[in-house]
Amino acid sequence: MKLLANRTFYQSVLIINAILVLTPIFFLINSSLRETSEFSRSPFGLARNPYWGNYTSVWSGGEFPSYLLNSLIITGGSLFLIAILSVGAGFVLARYQFRGSKLVLAFVLTGMLIPAKLAILPLFIQLKWMGLLDSRIGLILVYTSAALPAAIFIMSGFFRSLPLDLDSAARIDGASELQLLRRVLIPLVKPGMAIVAIYSAIPIWNDFFLPLVFLQSPEKKTIMQGLTVFFGQYASQWGVLFAGLTLAALPLVILYLILSEQFIKGLTAGAVKG
């Protein structure tokens, strides 16, 4: 078909996509800068004099900064654990042949099939028994466990791609296994770690379900969980609602715009071969 060969057609596809993606986002930001009372008069007007009052309402309401901090703690804490555990496990599974190493790898792979959501009840009761309910540490452990299978898989792939001579050379020089790992190999798998970081961090940052179930105290709530509470409280104050949404989305969007390459590579890591 002529149409499908036409380069202009594909240009239009991308332009339409850009419009469809950017318009709602523009509307979001634009509306956050208008006062709520304006909406009943003109739902779709431009914010001529940017009204920052919505943002101050959101920020000084007291909860947003604490939500942000909690999200940072939980995501950061999980990343930290994931990095350590997946590098270690990935290294061993890639480098050491021992009886059962294939089994362990298979075990790790099937772990990717199990979503935390479906095991939520036993997790709830188990964390309660462990005294880890309503605790950020408990949530960090659950997130880490959920992210580890994919992380280990990715890291072992990266380790496997490094030549074995490096190992032998280091061992001849008298290095212990840990030194081999730390001094020689880790610097070489840093790209893999970046991918693991992004692949794991984004779903954790964006998640609201696990905090909904596992965090009860209001001062421990994360940003996405807080949004659901926020929307209940400010139900018809449209300007404030939009400001809240924008603030919640801002951290990741800014990071994404700076690191878009890494984000794209990281988030599609499980799906793209090589």
């Binding site: 901090l69 804490g77 930290f80 709830f124 009860q216």
Partner: protein, 426 residues
């Protein structure tokens, strides 16, 4: 450099994480106790916070933090938290069956007339709203009686030439038509919220199905939900759909209430607890109230009513004494007075003076025409509750997705599956 950034961030966050382990966070500073207080009434936040200030002034050393949640998810949130042993100190409870299972599970402190003297003044019917299903101890202090009726905007009615308050349904429909002709919306009610539709039915329904007599008959198993009168009550809701705002199926609870509050709609059918919200959106609004019209000239008139909501204390609270102090504060005459004056609730305590004209009117009618809100009072104790069928059922009914007969049958099947006196009946 991207790698350094990731490491740095993770490291900083790990330090924070470490501090959360070392420092055991939350409450219990040296001398002050902080009580947490949860509710589903996001509309009442300002009210409770001002009341809390009064309490804190009289009780130095105790602070109270009020946190409201989205009302549709409140039940799940509270039950999860309580099971986790982590709920709030003071809990606002739904009445009757909705939270009875939590009461039975021992989540709340049993209250006595010694620990909470305010309980002495309340009638048994009201007290029942805060007792367990299997465990009949008193677990909550009921704070308000709610009543269902028709709220109206007198200014719109006179502008539309409606000079007399409707006594029968056909008179009300005539009023709707006049209002429509004058360019206003007849009803603010819409279909986007199942519970709101259920309340609409509970307001106009009793006159169709026979009020308290029918309630007693169903509770005893003498009549079923497929009774002609009940089916007619369901049909009455469907018939009102044409007076709802355009695209009513998608209009949510807050938008619907906003229509009445912003004086675009003439009538709003529902509970008196909406009045506080209307007034907060539009402080200058004048609201009138009359009991739901009779189904026909020969039917009886009823005002659906029930003990609505109570305050309870978490059995695992760290400071029972402080919690009881606050609960007793909530039982004082002054608090009851504020409930009436500021958010137009009908207080359970009989000694509160009602100055608000509309609330006075409602209270008067409740005493003479009161009938229990069927679903809330009788059938929320086990699953599937009648409400769980009716709430989505009404949403389907008003768009023609089901018939009143079928809906009645579904309710009957649901209730008969667990409610003894109805078992085996259809």
């Amino acid at each position: 450099m991207k790698i350094t950034y990731t490491w740095l961030r993770a490291l900083v966050a790990a330090l924070f994480a470490a501090t959360t382990v070392v420092l055991p966070g939350t409450t219990s500073a040296s001398a002050a106790t902080e009580l947490t207080f949860w509710s589903w009434r996001t509309e009442d936040k300002a009210f409770y916070e001002s009341q809390i200030k009064l309490f804190e002034a009289k009780n130095p050393g105790i602070t109270v933090k009020f946190t409201p949640y989205l009302n549709t998810e409140y039940n799940a949130i509270v039950s999860t938290a309580l099971t986790a042993g982590k709920g709030p100190d003071i809990v606002q409870l739904r009445p009757y069956g909705a939270m009875a299972n939590l009461m039975d599970a021992g989540s709340f402190l049993p209250l006595t007339t010694t620990s909470v003297p305010a309980l002495k003044k309340l009638s048994p019917g009201i007290l029942a709203a805060a007792q367990g299903y299997k465990d009949k101890k008193q677990f909550g202090l009921p704070y308000a009686v709610s009543a269902l009726g028709v709220m109206y905007n007198p200014a719109i009615l006179s502008a539309s030439g409606v000079n007399a308050l409707p006594q029968t349904m056909s008179q009300m429909v005539a009023a709707f038509e006049k209002v429509k002709k004058a360019g206003y919306l007849p009803l603010g009610n819409a279909g986007g919220n199942g519970p709101a539709l259920e309340q609409l039915h509970a307001t106009i329904g009793p006159s169709y199905y026979g009020g308290t007599q029918f309630f007693n008959d169903v509770v005893a198993g003498k009549k079923t939900f497929t009774d002609k009168g009940y089916v007619a009550s369901l049909k009455a809701v469907a018939d009102l759909a044409k007076y709802m705002p355009a695209n009513y199926q998608g209009i949510d609870y807050n938008t619907a209430r906003g229509l009445f509050a912003n004086e675009k709609a003439a009538f709003y059918i529902g509970g008196n607890y909406e009045m506080g919200y209307f007034r907060s959106l539009n402080p200058s609004i004048n609201i009138g109230w009359f009991p739901a019209p009779k189904a026909t000239a020969g039917s009886k008139r009823y005002v659906g009513t029930w003990g609505d909501g109570s305050y309870a204390i978490n059995s695992k609270t760290a400071d029972q004494a402080a919690a009881l102090k606050f609960l007793n504060f909530l039982g004082t005459k002054e608090f009851g007075q504020a409930l009436v004056d500021e958010i137009a609730f009908i207080p359970t305590a009989p000694y509160v003076k009602i100055n608000d004209q509309a609330v006075k009117e409602i209270n008067r009618w409740v005493k003479t025409l009161g009938t229990p809100f069927l679903n809330v009072v009788g059938f929320r104790y086990e699953n599937p509750t009648s409400s769980s069928i009716l709430q989505p059922g009404f949403q389907k009914l008003i768009v023609g997705g089901t018939t009143p007969e079928q809906l009645a049958k579904d309710v009957q099947t649901a209730v008969a599956s667990w409610y003894g006196p109805q078992k085996g009946k259809s």
